[in-house]
């Protein structure tokens, strides 16, 4: 039969996504499953470094619990300090996965198939990281369940008219739906890995993740029936979640925050940073595991075009905010924006503007979009810029209505810095385990782009 296979192993052809070498259904299995073979020295070294940083973050959190929330740099009036910055940053990172897996699925953008699993994993781990910060910020994270409405003898309920409570609903819904979407999508691929696993423990883990999948016509029918609805539900959800997050700020009558542009501006910013992070993850993965023929330069270029598109929306929002402040009637608003660009934290503003609005303009040039080292560095800058975007919004509290409060004394404490570093370690810990445990690329969906083997008529790729 190997002759038959060779005869029908045609290269993948779909628009411009022609990989350099032929991919067959078997070679695709082998290439993707190679990732979950025994980890090498580099993986262990990265994991060790990750655990050291995570330990540092845990020590900082322990200090914060023992000595109180004051050990973070919270200072009146900047009481939210960097925890809200980190929360919004990680929720933003989490947005790309659903965009790639759900929105592009509904729009039938086939390039998503090669990259969406990594993006979805990033989404789930991003929300798991984001969810830490409201809990850490309470100072007593073990009372986190107070955020959730539940019947109690004092008949106390959270304030359902507060944007902070909306956030609880939005973020928990997002975590639940994106986790379901992620786990459901993995089922057929976990079955592929299960059928080829040799170690009994791996086989057991993969059997659990595959739910006993056999690929029968009944299973495929209900799987894709449900998948479509997951995508249809996740699409409005992803738009609503970051809108709700933006309303944490926009519902408050604080200069620089009380703006209707916040929701679309935050959603675009979230997708911007999320896609940049996906690129940052995909470039080393495709290089390390030699998967350049599966995640091609064309795929990376399409993602970088998304970065460019969302960058222009974000840059437009920055400019519109200034225009509205200048054109509008509020002198407090005008003062706030002038202060942002020239005041105490102006360096944060200019880092944000440079990284998010100026540097991504280089993506207009094709050689930049297809140069992986340059794209990697550029996306790192985008993520730095997007963290600073939230920093700039948060530090606006230091310039409130009362001049008596303009004594700027917010400084990030080492506790906050260590917890921020620990959050990255927490995120990458999940990711490192994921790439070694489950198929990081959707084998089934990539197979659908291959021409199906036909005896009687010329093979054509699936729609």
């Amino acid at each position: 039969m190997s002759e038959t296979l060779a005869a029908h192993a045609e290269p993948m052809r779909r628009g411009t996504q022609v990989p350099a070498e032929a991919i067959t259904q078997k070679s695709l299995n082998d290439d993707v499953l190679r990732m979950i073979s025994k980890p090498g020295k580099i993986w262990w070294a990265v994991l060790t470094l990750d655990l050291i940083i995570l330990t540092l973050g845990l020590i900082a959190e322990r200090n914060q619990i023992v000595h109180g929330i004051g050990s973070a740099g919270h200072t009146r009036p900047v009481m939210w300090a960097s925890y809200i910055v980190n929360f919004v940053f990680w929720v933003g990172i989490a947005h790309c996965g659903t965009l790639v897996s759900a929105i592009l699925f509904l729009f039938r953008s086939h390039f998503r198939r090669a990259v969406y699993r990594v993006a979805e994993a990033m989404t789930v781990f991003g929300v798991l990281t984001a969810g830490l910060f409201p809990l850490l910020h309470t100072g007593r994270p073990w009372f986190g369940y107070w955020l959730v409405p539940y019947p109690n003898q004092r008949n106390l309920w959270p304030n359902v008219r507060s944007p902070l409570e909306w956030d609880v609903f939005a973020v928990t819904t997002y975590l639940t739906i994106s986790s379901i979407f992620f786990i459901v999508g993995i089922i057929p691929d976990a079955a592929v890995a299960r059928d080829r696993a040799k170690h009994p423990v791996m086989k057991l883990i993969l059997t659990i993740f595959s739910f006993g999948w056999t690929g029968s016509n009944h299973q495929w029918k209900h799987f894709y029936g449900a998948y479509l609805y997951f995508a249809a539900l996740a699409t409005p959800l992803v738009l609503s979640v970051h809108s709700v997050v933006s309303w944490d700020f926009a519902m408050a009558q604080i200069p620089g925050w009380h703006s209707t542009i916040f929701a679309p501006y935050f959603v675009a910013g979230a997708i911007f940073s999320g896609v940049a992070m996906v690129i940052n993850l995909l470039i080393p993965i495709r290089k390390t595991f030699k998967l350049e023929h599966i995640v091609t330069l064309d795929h990376m270029e399409k993602l970088s075009k998304l970065v460019l598109l969302t960058s222009t929306i974000v840059a437009y929002s920055y400019l519109v905010e200034f225009f509205c402040a200048w054109y509008g009637p509020s002198k407090f608003e005008r003062d706030m924006f002038w202060w942002r660009a020239t005041g105490h934290f102006n360096w944060g503003f200019w880092i944000m503007f440079t990284c998010n609005a100026i540097l991504p303009l280089s993506l207009w040039f094709k050689p930049v979009r297809r140069n992986m080292p340059v794209l990697f560095v550029l996306c790192l800058f985008v993520n730095v810029g997007m963290w600073f975007e939230r920093f700039v919004i948060m530090t606006g509290l230091a310039r409130s209505f009362m001049p008596s409060m303009w004594d700027i004394n917010y400084r990030m404490s080492w506790t906050e810095a260590a917890i921020l570093a620990g959050s990255f370690a927490w995120f990458f810990l999940f990711f490192l385990i994921f790439v070694r445990l489950l198929p990081a690329f959707s084998i089934a969906e990539i197979k659908e782009t291959l021409p199906p083997p036909m005896r009687g008529r010329k093979a054509g790729a699936h729609a």
Partner: protein, 184 residues
């Protein structure tokens, strides 16, 4: 660790299953679709087709309707939205606390919670609906399973016995099956 590994392997293998029917294994999609069409004409409507990816040719030959999971999702969404709004109404009226002089029952903020609850319950019911309809998690397979079905082969399983099995075997062979296994 060996006894543990042996135990896991034994657990995964499960008790020996008895199947009655014929399994045909195909490489070419059009061959498999042709076999499905003929077998359906012969009256075998209860067959199962295993494949690494869904193929439109085979779906058409099987004349499968759309999945019913959408109704489960719709009911879940409706209940979620109702529950979300009900929670808001109940929580503000059971402990009336006026904040900022605003109405206790303020619909615009309730929409956010009602909407998120709708999506949450619709998503969960979508998952449960899919698992129930696709009979997942599947501990025991209803047909002899071959790991090649997750690689590049298509399996057609027709439950039948006796003379019927012989006819099915011939039909599968006649439509280009690489292998045909009769389980009696």
């Amino acid at each position: 660790m060996k006894p543990l590994y042996d135990l896991i392997e034994k657990l995964l293998k499960g008790p020996p299953a008895k199947y009655r029917g014929v399994m045909g294994i195909y490489y070419f999609v059009d061959d498999a679709a042709g076999a499905v069409r003929v077998l359906r004409q012969m009256g075998h409507k209860q067959m199962s087709v295993f494949s690494p990816v869904p193929h439109h040719d085979i779906e058409r030959a099987l004349e499968q309707g759309p999945s019913l999971v959408r109704w489960v999702t719709a009911v879940g969404g409706f209940l979620g939205a109702t529950g979300g709004f009900a929670l808001c109404f109940y929580s503000v009226t059971s402990y009336p606390l006026v904040v900022g002089g605003k109405e206790l029952i303020s619909l615009p903020p309730f929409v956010v919670l009602g909407y998120e609850s709708m999506i949450l319950c619709a998503g969960i019911s979508n998952l449960l609906g899919m698992l129930a309809l696709a009979r997942l998690p599947q501990v025991k397979t209803k047909a002899p399973y071959d790991p090649r079905f997750t690689e590049d082969r298509i399996g057609i399983w027709v439950p039948c016995t006796g003379d019927e099995a012989e006819k099915v075997k011939e039909t599968l062979r006649g439509h280009g099956a690489e292998e045909v296994h009769v389980h009696a």
